[in-house]
Symmetry: C2
Subunit: 329 residues, 2 copies
Protein backbone atom coordinates (compact mmCIF):
# COMPACT_ATOMS: atom_id res chain seq x y z
CA UNK A 1 0.00 0.00 0.00
CA UNK A 2 1.45 3.35 -1.02
CA UNK A 3 1.49 6.62 0.82
CA UNK A 4 -1.32 8.20 -1.16
CA UNK A 5 -3.69 5.25 -0.88
CA UNK A 6 -2.97 5.23 2.82
CA UNK A 7 -3.98 8.84 3.33
CA UNK A 8 -7.01 8.39 1.19
CA UNK A 9 -8.31 5.21 2.74
CA UNK A 10 -8.07 6.17 6.37
CA UNK A 11 -8.42 9.90 6.60
CA UNK A 12 -10.71 10.84 3.72
CA UNK A 13 -13.62 9.04 5.38
CA UNK A 14 -14.81 12.07 7.27
CA UNK A 15 -17.91 13.83 6.10
CA UNK A 16 -17.18 17.51 6.38
CA UNK A 17 -20.07 19.94 6.52
CA UNK A 18 -18.11 23.06 7.35
CA UNK A 19 -19.17 25.95 5.12
CA UNK A 20 -15.86 27.70 5.77
CA UNK A 21 -13.85 24.87 4.18
CA UNK A 22 -13.63 25.23 0.39
CA UNK A 23 -10.89 22.67 -0.20
CA UNK A 24 -9.74 19.89 2.10
CA UNK A 25 -7.53 16.76 1.91
CA UNK A 26 -6.20 15.92 -1.54
CA UNK A 27 -4.86 19.15 -3.01
CA UNK A 28 -1.59 21.04 -2.51
CA UNK A 29 -3.25 23.08 0.23
CA UNK A 30 -6.50 23.34 2.10
CA UNK A 31 -8.56 26.48 1.53
CA UNK A 32 -10.66 28.00 4.29
CA UNK A 33 -12.48 31.27 4.89
CA UNK A 34 -12.23 33.28 8.09
CA UNK A 35 -15.40 35.23 8.87
CA UNK A 36 -15.14 38.97 9.40
CA UNK A 37 -14.61 40.17 12.97
CA UNK A 38 -12.78 36.98 13.88
CA UNK A 39 -9.10 36.28 14.34
CA UNK A 40 -7.49 33.00 13.49
CA UNK A 41 -5.74 31.20 16.36
CA UNK A 42 -3.06 28.70 15.34
CA UNK A 43 -1.17 26.16 17.45
CA UNK A 44 1.24 23.28 16.77
CA UNK A 45 2.15 20.37 19.04
CA UNK A 46 4.25 17.29 18.44
CA UNK A 47 4.03 13.99 20.31
CA UNK A 48 7.03 11.67 19.93
CA UNK A 49 7.16 8.03 21.02
CA UNK A 50 9.23 7.51 24.18
CA UNK A 51 9.27 11.28 24.82
CA UNK A 52 5.56 12.07 25.11
CA UNK A 53 4.03 8.62 25.14
CA UNK A 54 5.01 5.02 25.84
CA UNK A 55 5.14 2.43 23.06
CA UNK A 56 2.34 0.64 24.95
CA UNK A 57 -0.20 3.43 24.29
CA UNK A 58 -3.21 2.30 22.27
CA UNK A 59 -3.65 3.96 18.85
CA UNK A 60 -7.05 5.19 20.08
CA UNK A 61 -5.56 6.97 23.10
CA UNK A 62 -2.69 8.40 21.04
CA UNK A 63 -5.04 9.89 18.44
CA UNK A 64 -7.34 11.27 21.11
CA UNK A 65 -4.55 12.84 23.13
CA UNK A 66 -2.76 14.35 20.12
CA UNK A 67 -6.00 16.10 19.17
CA UNK A 68 -6.97 17.03 22.74
CA UNK A 69 -3.65 18.68 23.60
CA UNK A 70 -3.88 20.91 20.54
CA UNK A 71 -7.52 21.82 21.18
CA UNK A 72 -6.47 22.66 24.74
CA UNK A 73 -4.14 25.36 23.39
CA UNK A 74 -7.03 26.84 21.43
CA UNK A 75 -9.22 26.69 24.56
CA UNK A 76 -6.53 28.57 26.49
CA UNK A 77 -6.77 31.51 24.13
CA UNK A 78 -10.57 31.46 24.07
CA UNK A 79 -10.92 30.20 20.49
CA UNK A 80 -13.50 27.86 18.97
CA UNK A 81 -11.58 24.99 17.30
CA UNK A 82 -12.31 24.68 13.57
CA UNK A 83 -9.64 22.94 11.48
CA UNK A 84 -6.76 20.56 11.93
CA UNK A 85 -3.78 19.31 9.90
CA UNK A 86 -2.16 15.99 10.76
CA UNK A 87 1.50 15.14 10.11
CA UNK A 88 1.85 11.45 10.93
CA UNK A 89 5.23 9.72 10.87
CA UNK A 90 5.10 5.92 11.01
CA UNK A 91 7.81 3.27 11.00
CA UNK A 92 5.69 1.06 8.71
CA UNK A 93 2.17 0.66 7.37
CA UNK A 94 0.25 -1.36 9.97
CA UNK A 95 -3.29 -1.39 8.63
CA UNK A 96 -4.89 -2.48 11.87
CA UNK A 97 -3.10 0.25 13.81
CA UNK A 98 -4.02 2.86 11.19
CA UNK A 99 -7.65 1.81 11.21
CA UNK A 100 -7.84 2.22 15.00
CA UNK A 101 -5.84 5.46 15.03
CA UNK A 102 -7.85 7.09 12.25
CA UNK A 103 -11.23 6.04 13.65
CA UNK A 104 -10.36 7.53 17.04
CA UNK A 105 -9.01 10.69 15.44
CA UNK A 106 -12.05 11.22 13.23
CA UNK A 107 -14.45 10.46 16.11
CA UNK A 108 -12.67 12.97 18.35
CA UNK A 109 -12.81 15.60 15.60
CA UNK A 110 -16.50 14.89 15.13
CA UNK A 111 -17.13 15.23 18.87
CA UNK A 112 -15.52 18.67 18.83
CA UNK A 113 -16.92 19.68 15.42
CA UNK A 114 -13.45 20.09 13.92
CA UNK A 115 -12.58 19.35 10.26
CA UNK A 116 -9.43 17.50 9.17
CA UNK A 117 -8.21 19.67 6.29
CA UNK A 118 -4.95 17.98 5.33
CA UNK A 119 -1.58 16.73 6.40
CA UNK A 120 1.34 14.55 5.50
CA UNK A 121 2.19 10.89 6.03
CA UNK A 122 5.86 9.98 6.21
CA UNK A 123 8.11 7.09 7.15
CA UNK A 124 10.20 7.32 10.31
CA UNK A 125 10.08 6.98 14.10
CA UNK A 126 6.48 7.22 15.34
CA UNK A 127 5.39 10.79 15.98
CA UNK A 128 2.29 12.92 15.54
CA UNK A 129 2.39 16.65 14.81
CA UNK A 130 -0.91 18.46 14.73
CA UNK A 131 -1.56 22.05 13.72
CA UNK A 132 -4.97 23.18 14.93
CA UNK A 133 -6.78 26.36 14.03
CA UNK A 134 -9.68 28.10 15.67
CA UNK A 135 -11.63 31.34 15.60
CA UNK A 136 -11.92 33.98 18.29
CA UNK A 137 -13.75 37.30 18.13
CA UNK A 138 -11.35 40.18 17.47
CA UNK A 139 -10.06 41.68 20.71
CA UNK A 140 -11.34 38.86 22.94
CA UNK A 141 -8.40 36.46 22.91
CA UNK A 142 -7.01 35.42 26.30
CA UNK A 143 -3.31 36.24 25.97
CA UNK A 144 -0.59 35.50 28.50
CA UNK A 145 0.52 39.12 28.74
CA UNK A 146 -2.84 40.49 29.87
CA UNK A 147 -2.84 39.58 33.58
CA UNK A 148 -3.27 42.62 35.84
CA UNK A 149 -2.34 43.20 39.48
CA UNK A 150 -5.45 42.47 41.54
CA UNK A 151 -6.75 39.73 39.21
CA UNK A 152 -8.01 36.56 40.85
CA UNK A 153 -6.27 33.36 39.73
CA UNK A 154 -8.49 30.38 38.93
CA UNK A 155 -7.90 26.83 37.74
CA UNK A 156 -10.43 24.47 36.21
CA UNK A 157 -11.02 20.85 37.26
CA UNK A 158 -8.55 19.18 39.56
CA UNK A 159 -4.75 19.22 39.45
CA UNK A 160 -2.12 16.49 39.60
CA UNK A 161 -4.30 13.60 38.41
CA UNK A 162 -2.49 13.04 35.12
CA UNK A 163 0.97 12.75 36.66
CA UNK A 164 -0.31 10.37 39.34
CA UNK A 165 -1.94 8.33 36.57
CA UNK A 166 1.32 8.27 34.62
CA UNK A 167 3.24 7.16 37.71
CA UNK A 168 0.85 4.24 38.06
CA UNK A 169 1.20 3.32 34.40
CA UNK A 170 5.02 3.48 34.63
CA UNK A 171 5.00 1.26 37.72
CA UNK A 172 3.04 -1.30 35.74
CA UNK A 173 -0.06 -0.94 37.90
CA UNK A 174 -3.10 -2.03 35.95
CA UNK A 175 -6.14 0.05 36.72
CA UNK A 176 -8.18 -2.14 39.08
CA UNK A 177 -10.04 0.20 41.44
CA UNK A 178 -12.12 3.26 40.60
CA UNK A 179 -9.44 5.68 41.80
CA UNK A 180 -6.62 4.09 39.79
CA UNK A 181 -8.84 3.94 36.71
CA UNK A 182 -9.86 7.60 37.16
CA UNK A 183 -6.25 8.81 37.41
CA UNK A 184 -5.05 6.79 34.43
CA UNK A 185 -7.96 8.03 32.33
CA UNK A 186 -7.07 11.58 33.31
CA UNK A 187 -3.63 10.88 31.85
CA UNK A 188 -4.79 9.20 28.64
CA UNK A 189 -7.94 11.23 28.02
CA UNK A 190 -7.51 14.83 29.16
CA UNK A 191 -10.48 17.09 28.43
CA UNK A 192 -9.75 20.24 26.41
CA UNK A 193 -11.68 23.01 28.21
CA UNK A 194 -13.13 24.54 25.10
CA UNK A 195 -16.52 25.68 26.37
CA UNK A 196 -14.80 27.19 29.40
CA UNK A 197 -12.31 29.05 27.21
CA UNK A 198 -15.16 30.42 25.11
CA UNK A 199 -17.07 31.49 28.24
CA UNK A 200 -13.97 33.31 29.51
CA UNK A 201 -13.10 35.08 26.27
CA UNK A 202 -14.74 38.38 27.17
CA UNK A 203 -14.43 38.37 30.98
CA UNK A 204 -10.97 36.96 31.84
CA UNK A 205 -7.66 38.73 31.24
CA UNK A 206 -5.06 35.99 30.75
CA UNK A 207 -5.14 32.21 30.43
CA UNK A 208 -2.85 29.25 29.85
CA UNK A 209 -3.44 25.53 29.67
CA UNK A 210 -1.57 23.43 32.21
CA UNK A 211 0.65 21.15 30.15
CA UNK A 212 3.86 21.41 32.21
CA UNK A 213 2.40 21.95 35.69
CA UNK A 214 0.90 24.97 37.48
CA UNK A 215 4.21 26.07 38.99
CA UNK A 216 5.84 26.23 35.57
CA UNK A 217 2.93 27.35 33.40
CA UNK A 218 1.70 30.14 35.68
CA UNK A 219 5.18 31.67 35.47
CA UNK A 220 4.70 32.13 31.71
CA UNK A 221 1.73 34.40 32.47
CA UNK A 222 3.69 36.21 35.21
CA UNK A 223 6.70 36.77 33.01
CA UNK A 224 4.70 38.03 30.04
CA UNK A 225 2.52 40.21 32.27
CA UNK A 226 5.45 41.46 34.43
CA UNK A 227 3.83 40.58 37.74
CA UNK A 228 3.89 37.99 40.54
CA UNK A 229 1.35 35.71 42.18
CA UNK A 230 0.22 34.49 45.56
CA UNK A 231 -1.14 30.94 45.56
CA UNK A 232 -2.84 29.41 48.59
CA UNK A 233 -2.07 25.68 48.67
CA UNK A 234 -5.14 25.09 50.85
CA UNK A 235 -7.28 26.01 47.87
CA UNK A 236 -5.73 23.71 45.26
CA UNK A 237 -8.55 21.65 43.73
CA UNK A 238 -7.72 17.98 44.25
CA UNK A 239 -9.64 14.91 43.18
CA UNK A 240 -10.83 12.47 45.81
CA UNK A 241 -9.07 9.72 43.83
CA UNK A 242 -5.74 11.51 44.20
CA UNK A 243 -6.36 12.14 47.91
CA UNK A 244 -7.40 8.52 48.46
CA UNK A 245 -4.18 7.10 47.03
CA UNK A 246 -1.42 9.54 48.02
CA UNK A 247 -0.32 11.50 51.09
CA UNK A 248 -0.75 15.27 51.23
CA UNK A 249 2.88 16.15 50.41
CA UNK A 250 2.90 13.93 47.35
CA UNK A 251 -0.47 15.25 46.28
CA UNK A 252 0.71 18.87 46.40
CA UNK A 253 3.84 17.96 44.48
CA UNK A 254 1.70 16.39 41.76
CA UNK A 255 -0.70 19.36 41.73
CA UNK A 256 2.06 21.98 41.43
CA UNK A 257 4.68 20.26 39.29
CA UNK A 258 2.84 17.47 37.52
CA UNK A 259 2.21 18.05 33.84
CA UNK A 260 -0.46 17.14 31.32
CA UNK A 261 -3.58 17.99 33.28
CA UNK A 262 -4.66 20.30 30.43
CA UNK A 263 -6.81 22.30 32.82
CA UNK A 264 -7.01 26.05 32.29
CA UNK A 265 -5.36 28.54 34.62
CA UNK A 266 -6.79 32.02 34.14
CA UNK A 267 -6.82 35.45 35.73
CA UNK A 268 -9.95 37.55 36.03
CA UNK A 269 -10.64 40.98 37.52
CA UNK A 270 -12.68 40.75 40.77
CA UNK A 271 -15.50 42.80 39.21
CA UNK A 272 -16.12 39.99 36.72
CA UNK A 273 -16.32 37.29 39.41
CA UNK A 274 -20.15 37.31 39.67
CA UNK A 275 -20.48 36.96 35.88
CA UNK A 276 -17.96 34.11 35.94
CA UNK A 277 -19.84 32.28 38.70
CA UNK A 278 -23.07 32.74 36.77
CA UNK A 279 -21.62 31.34 33.56
CA UNK A 280 -19.97 28.42 35.35
CA UNK A 281 -23.42 27.24 36.47
CA UNK A 282 -24.16 26.40 32.84
CA UNK A 283 -20.86 24.59 32.29
CA UNK A 284 -19.92 21.12 33.41
CA UNK A 285 -16.51 22.18 34.69
CA UNK A 286 -15.80 23.39 38.24
CA UNK A 287 -13.36 26.28 38.64
CA UNK A 288 -11.54 27.20 41.84
CA UNK A 289 -9.97 30.47 42.93
CA UNK A 290 -6.45 29.62 44.13
CA UNK A 291 -4.84 33.04 44.52
CA UNK A 292 -4.29 36.46 43.05
CA UNK A 293 -1.94 38.49 40.90
CA UNK A 294 0.32 40.84 42.90
CA UNK A 295 3.05 43.34 41.94
CA UNK A 296 6.49 41.96 41.13
CA UNK A 297 8.47 41.09 44.26
CA UNK A 298 11.45 43.34 44.98
CA UNK A 299 13.83 40.43 45.57
CA UNK A 300 13.01 38.73 42.28
CA UNK A 301 15.62 36.22 41.18
CA UNK A 302 17.19 36.81 37.80
CA UNK A 303 14.61 35.97 35.13
CA UNK A 304 12.45 34.04 37.60
CA UNK A 305 9.00 35.49 37.92
CA UNK A 306 7.91 34.61 41.39
CA UNK A 307 5.11 32.82 43.07
CA UNK A 308 4.59 33.24 46.85
CA UNK A 309 2.96 30.17 48.33
CA UNK A 310 0.55 30.43 51.27
CA UNK A 311 -1.27 27.86 53.36
CA UNK A 312 -4.54 28.99 54.93
CA UNK A 313 -3.52 32.56 54.15
CA UNK A 314 -0.07 32.31 55.81
CA UNK A 315 3.15 32.48 53.74
CA UNK A 316 5.19 29.27 53.71
CA UNK A 317 8.55 28.27 52.26
CA UNK A 318 7.87 26.00 49.35
CA UNK A 319 10.51 25.12 46.80
CA UNK A 320 9.27 22.73 44.19
CA UNK A 321 10.76 21.56 40.99
CA UNK A 322 9.97 23.51 37.87
CA UNK A 323 7.51 21.78 35.52
CA UNK A 324 8.41 19.14 33.00
CA UNK A 325 10.95 20.04 30.37
CA UNK A 326 11.98 17.44 27.79
CA UNK A 327 15.59 18.44 27.45
CA UNK A 328 16.14 18.88 31.16
CA UNK A 329 14.81 15.56 32.42
Amino acid sequence: MGEFDLIKEYFEQQQTCDDFVQLSIGDDCALVSVPENYQLAITTDTMVENTHFLPSITPEDLAYKAVATNLSDLAAIGAQPKWLSLALTLPNVDESWLERFSQSLLQTLKDYNVTLIGGDTTKGALSVTITAQGLVEKGKALCRHQAKVGDLIYVSGTLGDSTAGLQQILSGKSAVGFDEEFLQQRHFRPTPRITLGRALADIAHAAIDLSDGLNSDLRHILKRSQCAAEIDLSNLPLSSSLLNLYDRTQVEQFALSGGEDYELCFTIPPKNQPLLEFRLKNLDVPCTCIGRIVPEFETKKCGQFSIRFLRDGQPIDYSSKIGFDHFKE
Copy 2:
Protein backbone atom coordinates in the same frame (compact mmCIF):
# COMPACT_ATOMS: atom_id res chain seq x y z
CA MET B 1 19.63 24.56 28.30
CA GLY B 2 15.92 23.80 28.53
CA GLU B 3 13.29 23.57 25.84
CA PHE B 4 11.86 27.02 26.46
CA ASP B 5 15.18 28.84 26.48
CA LEU B 6 16.03 27.00 23.29
CA ILE B 7 12.94 28.20 21.45
CA LYS B 8 13.42 31.70 22.75
CA GLU B 9 17.08 32.08 21.97
CA TYR B 10 17.07 30.81 18.42
CA PHE B 11 13.68 31.51 16.97
CA GLU B 12 12.48 34.67 18.68
CA GLN B 13 15.21 36.69 16.99
CA GLN B 14 13.10 37.60 13.99
CA GLN B 15 11.75 41.10 13.70
CA THR B 16 8.21 40.72 12.49
CA CYS B 17 6.51 43.68 10.89
CA ASP B 18 3.41 41.92 9.64
CA ASP B 19 0.31 43.94 10.50
CA PHE B 20 -1.82 40.82 10.23
CA VAL B 21 0.02 39.08 13.09
CA GLN B 22 -1.36 40.11 16.50
CA LEU B 23 0.36 37.40 18.55
CA SER B 24 3.34 35.30 17.62
CA ILE B 25 5.80 32.92 19.34
CA GLY B 26 5.42 32.63 23.11
CA ASP B 27 1.71 32.21 23.77
CA ASP B 28 -0.60 29.19 23.61
CA CYS B 29 -1.47 30.13 20.05
CA ALA B 30 -0.56 32.64 17.40
CA LEU B 31 -3.26 35.11 16.40
CA VAL B 32 -3.54 36.42 12.86
CA SER B 33 -6.11 38.32 10.81
CA VAL B 34 -7.21 37.32 7.35
CA PRO B 35 -8.22 40.27 5.18
CA GLU B 36 -11.65 40.29 3.61
CA ASN B 37 -11.97 38.81 0.11
CA TYR B 38 -9.08 36.45 0.76
CA GLN B 39 -9.02 32.76 1.50
CA LEU B 40 -6.47 31.13 3.74
CA ALA B 41 -4.37 28.37 2.12
CA ILE B 42 -2.81 25.88 4.55
CA THR B 43 -0.25 23.15 3.90
CA THR B 44 1.81 20.77 6.06
CA ASP B 45 4.96 18.86 5.13
CA THR B 46 7.29 16.71 7.18
CA MET B 47 10.94 15.98 6.45
CA VAL B 48 12.42 12.99 8.31
CA GLU B 49 16.11 12.12 8.49
CA ASN B 50 17.02 9.11 6.31
CA THR B 51 13.63 9.31 4.57
CA HIS B 52 13.71 12.80 3.08
CA PHE B 53 17.27 13.85 3.71
CA LEU B 54 20.66 12.30 4.46
CA PRO B 55 22.35 12.73 7.84
CA SER B 56 25.09 14.60 5.94
CA ILE B 57 22.80 17.51 5.00
CA THR B 58 23.94 20.86 6.39
CA PRO B 59 21.56 22.53 8.88
CA GLU B 60 21.40 25.49 6.48
CA ASP B 61 20.22 23.35 3.56
CA LEU B 62 17.75 21.44 5.77
CA ALA B 63 16.14 24.63 7.06
CA TYR B 64 16.01 26.14 3.58
CA LYS B 65 14.50 23.05 1.98
CA ALA B 66 11.92 22.48 4.72
CA VAL B 67 10.66 26.03 4.20
CA ALA B 68 10.93 25.94 0.39
CA THR B 69 8.94 22.72 -0.03
CA ASN B 70 6.07 24.15 2.01
CA LEU B 71 6.11 27.47 0.18
CA SER B 72 6.05 25.49 -3.06
CA ASP B 73 2.68 24.01 -2.05
CA LEU B 74 1.35 27.53 -1.49
CA ALA B 75 2.76 28.60 -4.86
CA ALA B 76 0.96 25.67 -6.51
CA ILE B 77 -2.40 26.96 -5.33
CA GLY B 78 -1.61 30.57 -6.26
CA ALA B 79 -1.29 31.87 -2.70
CA GLN B 80 1.02 34.50 -1.25
CA PRO B 81 2.91 32.89 1.67
CA LYS B 82 2.36 34.70 4.98
CA TRP B 83 2.92 32.63 8.14
CA LEU B 84 4.71 29.50 9.22
CA SER B 85 4.75 27.17 12.26
CA LEU B 86 7.79 25.01 12.93
CA ALA B 87 7.67 21.66 14.74
CA LEU B 88 11.28 20.66 15.23
CA THR B 89 12.23 17.28 16.71
CA LEU B 90 15.88 16.94 17.74
CA PRO B 91 17.84 14.06 19.28
CA ASN B 92 19.74 16.52 21.49
CA VAL B 93 20.48 20.20 21.92
CA ASP B 94 23.45 20.98 19.68
CA GLU B 95 23.83 24.74 19.96
CA SER B 96 26.06 25.13 16.94
CA TRP B 97 23.63 23.13 14.78
CA LEU B 98 20.65 25.12 16.12
CA GLU B 99 22.38 28.43 15.47
CA ARG B 100 23.04 27.47 11.85
CA PHE B 101 19.58 25.94 11.33
CA SER B 102 17.71 28.89 12.83
CA GLN B 103 19.76 31.53 10.99
CA SER B 104 19.08 29.83 7.67
CA LEU B 105 15.39 29.40 8.50
CA LEU B 106 14.92 33.03 9.53
CA GLN B 107 16.89 34.30 6.53
CA THR B 108 14.75 32.21 4.17
CA LEU B 109 11.57 33.49 5.82
CA LYS B 110 12.85 37.06 5.50
CA ASP B 111 13.65 36.53 1.80
CA TYR B 112 10.08 35.40 1.21
CA ASN B 113 8.49 37.89 3.62
CA VAL B 114 7.02 35.13 5.80
CA THR B 115 6.58 35.37 9.59
CA LEU B 116 7.40 32.53 11.99
CA ILE B 117 4.35 32.51 14.27
CA GLY B 118 5.03 29.55 16.54
CA GLY B 119 5.82 25.90 16.84
CA ASP B 120 7.03 23.17 19.10
CA THR B 121 10.46 21.78 19.96
CA THR B 122 10.64 18.17 21.05
CA LYS B 123 13.16 15.42 21.69
CA GLY B 124 13.36 12.48 19.28
CA ALA B 125 14.71 11.39 15.90
CA LEU B 126 15.52 14.43 13.73
CA SER B 127 12.53 15.67 11.76
CA VAL B 128 11.04 18.98 10.68
CA THR B 129 7.31 19.53 10.22
CA ILE B 130 6.25 22.88 8.85
CA THR B 131 2.73 24.21 8.48
CA ALA B 132 2.67 27.18 6.15
CA GLN B 133 -0.20 29.53 5.48
CA GLY B 134 -0.84 31.95 2.69
CA LEU B 135 -3.51 34.18 1.22
CA VAL B 136 -5.24 33.92 -2.12
CA GLU B 137 -8.04 36.07 -3.50
CA LYS B 138 -11.42 34.34 -3.15
CA GLY B 139 -12.25 32.27 -6.23
CA LYS B 140 -8.74 32.49 -7.74
CA ALA B 141 -7.05 29.44 -6.18
CA LEU B 142 -5.47 26.96 -8.60
CA CYS B 143 -7.07 23.66 -7.58
CA ARG B 144 -6.25 20.23 -8.94
CA HIS B 145 -9.82 19.54 -10.02
CA GLN B 146 -10.13 22.51 -12.35
CA ALA B 147 -8.30 21.25 -15.46
CA LYS B 148 -10.49 21.30 -18.58
CA VAL B 149 -10.24 19.39 -21.84
CA GLY B 150 -8.40 21.61 -24.33
CA ASP B 151 -6.16 23.22 -21.67
CA LEU B 152 -2.49 23.54 -22.50
CA ILE B 153 -0.12 21.88 -20.02
CA TYR B 154 2.92 23.88 -18.94
CA VAL B 155 5.82 23.28 -16.59
CA SER B 156 8.16 25.88 -15.14
CA GLY B 157 11.97 25.71 -15.12
CA THR B 158 13.67 22.44 -16.05
CA LEU B 159 12.83 18.90 -14.97
CA GLY B 160 14.91 16.06 -13.57
CA ASP B 161 17.76 18.15 -12.15
CA SER B 162 17.05 17.40 -8.51
CA THR B 163 17.04 13.62 -8.91
CA ALA B 164 20.24 13.74 -10.94
CA GLY B 165 21.77 15.89 -8.21
CA LEU B 166 20.66 13.41 -5.56
CA GLN B 167 22.14 10.52 -7.53
CA GLN B 168 25.47 12.33 -7.56
CA ILE B 169 25.29 13.04 -3.85
CA LEU B 170 24.45 9.38 -3.11
CA SER B 171 27.35 8.19 -5.24
CA GLY B 172 29.64 10.37 -3.14
CA LYS B 173 30.50 12.64 -6.06
CA SER B 174 31.64 15.98 -4.72
CA ALA B 175 30.50 18.88 -6.88
CA VAL B 176 33.56 19.80 -8.88
CA GLY B 177 32.37 21.10 -12.24
CA PHE B 178 29.68 23.67 -12.98
CA ASP B 179 27.17 21.05 -14.13
CA GLU B 180 27.57 18.84 -11.05
CA GLU B 181 27.32 21.86 -8.77
CA PHE B 182 24.22 23.10 -10.58
CA LEU B 183 22.39 19.76 -10.25
CA GLN B 184 23.28 19.31 -6.58
CA GLN B 185 22.13 22.86 -5.82
CA ARG B 186 18.86 22.11 -7.60
CA HIS B 187 18.47 19.24 -5.15
CA PHE B 188 19.43 21.14 -1.99
CA ARG B 189 17.98 24.54 -2.88
CA PRO B 190 14.81 24.20 -4.94
CA THR B 191 13.08 27.49 -5.74
CA PRO B 192 9.42 27.77 -4.69
CA ARG B 193 7.69 29.36 -7.70
CA ILE B 194 5.70 31.88 -5.71
CA THR B 195 5.65 34.81 -8.12
CA LEU B 196 4.69 32.42 -10.92
CA GLY B 197 1.85 30.95 -8.82
CA ARG B 198 0.57 34.46 -8.09
CA ALA B 199 0.79 35.41 -11.79
CA LEU B 200 -1.21 32.29 -12.70
CA ALA B 201 -3.93 32.69 -10.07
CA ASP B 202 -6.49 34.32 -12.35
CA ILE B 203 -5.52 32.85 -15.74
CA ALA B 204 -4.65 29.17 -15.17
CA HIS B 205 -7.14 26.42 -14.33
CA ALA B 206 -5.23 23.80 -12.31
CA ALA B 207 -1.73 23.54 -10.88
CA ILE B 208 0.45 21.22 -8.81
CA ASP B 209 4.04 21.42 -7.65
CA LEU B 210 6.31 18.63 -8.84
CA SER B 211 7.46 16.91 -5.68
CA ASP B 212 7.10 13.27 -6.79
CA GLY B 213 7.80 13.63 -10.51
CA LEU B 214 5.74 14.84 -13.49
CA ASN B 215 4.43 11.38 -14.35
CA SER B 216 3.05 10.93 -10.85
CA ASP B 217 2.00 14.47 -9.97
CA LEU B 218 0.23 15.25 -13.24
CA ARG B 219 -1.97 12.19 -12.63
CA HIS B 220 -3.30 13.87 -9.46
CA ILE B 221 -4.64 16.69 -11.63
CA LEU B 222 -6.00 14.21 -14.20
CA LYS B 223 -7.73 12.10 -11.58
CA ARG B 224 -9.30 15.05 -9.77
CA SER B 225 -10.34 16.66 -13.05
CA GLN B 226 -11.52 13.38 -14.67
CA CYS B 227 -9.49 13.79 -17.82
CA ALA B 228 -6.33 12.57 -19.56
CA ALA B 229 -3.23 14.20 -21.02
CA GLU B 230 -0.95 14.08 -24.02
CA ILE B 231 2.66 14.97 -23.28
CA ASP B 232 5.26 15.45 -26.00
CA LEU B 233 8.63 14.27 -24.71
CA SER B 234 10.39 16.43 -27.32
CA ASN B 235 9.14 19.47 -25.44
CA LEU B 236 10.33 18.55 -21.93
CA PRO B 237 12.43 21.46 -20.63
CA LEU B 238 15.86 20.07 -19.74
CA SER B 239 18.85 21.88 -18.32
CA SER B 240 22.10 21.91 -20.27
CA SER B 241 23.81 20.54 -17.14
CA LEU B 242 21.56 17.48 -17.17
CA LEU B 243 22.06 16.99 -20.92
CA ASN B 244 25.83 17.39 -20.56
CA LEU B 245 26.15 14.64 -17.97
CA TYR B 246 23.55 11.99 -18.92
CA ASP B 247 22.29 10.24 -22.05
CA ARG B 248 18.86 11.03 -23.45
CA THR B 249 17.11 7.94 -22.06
CA GLN B 250 18.38 8.63 -18.55
CA VAL B 251 17.51 12.32 -18.85
CA GLU B 252 13.90 11.57 -19.81
CA GLN B 253 13.62 9.10 -16.95
CA PHE B 254 14.80 11.78 -14.50
CA ALA B 255 12.49 14.39 -16.03
CA LEU B 256 9.39 12.19 -15.87
CA SER B 257 9.90 10.18 -12.70
CA GLY B 258 12.42 12.14 -10.68
CA GLY B 259 11.04 13.94 -7.65
CA GLU B 260 11.77 17.14 -5.79
CA ASP B 261 12.12 19.58 -8.67
CA TYR B 262 9.41 21.74 -7.05
CA GLU B 263 8.59 23.26 -10.41
CA LEU B 264 4.95 24.04 -11.16
CA CYS B 265 2.90 22.05 -13.62
CA PHE B 266 -0.23 23.94 -14.65
CA THR B 267 -3.04 23.87 -17.17
CA ILE B 268 -4.31 26.97 -18.90
CA PRO B 269 -7.02 27.55 -21.53
CA PRO B 270 -5.53 28.45 -24.96
CA LYS B 271 -7.31 31.80 -24.93
CA ASN B 272 -5.17 32.86 -21.93
CA GLN B 273 -1.89 31.89 -23.59
CA PRO B 274 -1.08 35.42 -24.83
CA LEU B 275 -1.68 36.87 -21.35
CA LEU B 276 0.52 34.15 -19.85
CA GLU B 277 3.35 34.86 -22.29
CA PHE B 278 3.04 38.57 -21.53
CA ARG B 279 3.24 38.03 -17.78
CA LEU B 280 6.13 35.59 -18.09
CA LYS B 281 8.24 38.35 -19.64
CA ASN B 282 8.23 40.08 -16.26
CA LEU B 283 9.14 36.93 -14.32
CA ASP B 284 12.51 35.30 -14.01
CA VAL B 285 11.15 31.81 -14.63
CA PRO B 286 10.81 30.18 -18.06
CA CYS B 287 7.70 28.09 -18.68
CA THR B 288 7.29 25.49 -21.41
CA CYS B 289 4.18 24.05 -23.01
CA ILE B 290 4.59 20.25 -22.93
CA GLY B 291 1.16 19.01 -23.92
CA ARG B 292 -2.57 19.34 -23.52
CA ILE B 293 -5.53 18.03 -21.59
CA VAL B 294 -7.67 15.54 -23.56
CA PRO B 295 -10.83 13.55 -22.76
CA GLU B 296 -10.43 10.40 -20.70
CA PHE B 297 -9.20 7.47 -22.80
CA GLU B 298 -11.72 4.69 -23.40
CA THR B 299 -9.30 1.94 -22.43
CA LYS B 300 -8.39 3.50 -19.12
CA LYS B 301 -6.84 1.08 -16.66
CA CYS B 302 -8.64 0.70 -13.35
CA GLY B 303 -8.02 3.83 -11.29
CA GLN B 304 -5.11 4.92 -13.49
CA PHE B 305 -5.70 8.26 -15.10
CA SER B 306 -3.73 8.12 -18.25
CA ILE B 307 -1.04 10.04 -19.96
CA ARG B 308 -0.32 9.42 -23.66
CA PHE B 309 3.31 10.14 -24.50
CA LEU B 310 4.32 11.53 -27.88
CA ARG B 311 7.66 12.30 -29.47
CA ASP B 312 7.69 15.03 -32.11
CA GLY B 313 3.91 14.73 -32.25
CA GLN B 314 3.88 10.93 -32.79
CA PRO B 315 2.51 8.54 -30.10
CA ILE B 316 5.12 6.26 -28.54
CA ASP B 317 5.00 3.44 -26.03
CA TYR B 318 6.50 4.69 -22.84
CA SER B 319 6.14 2.89 -19.55
CA SER B 320 7.91 4.65 -16.75
CA LYS B 321 7.89 4.09 -13.07
CA ILE B 322 5.37 5.99 -11.00
CA GLY B 323 6.89 8.84 -8.96
CA PHE B 324 8.54 8.48 -5.60
CA ASP B 325 6.46 6.99 -2.82
CA HIS B 326 8.01 6.53 0.63
CA PHE B 327 6.26 3.32 1.56
CA LYS B 328 6.71 1.71 -1.82
CA GLU B 329 10.44 2.21 -2.30
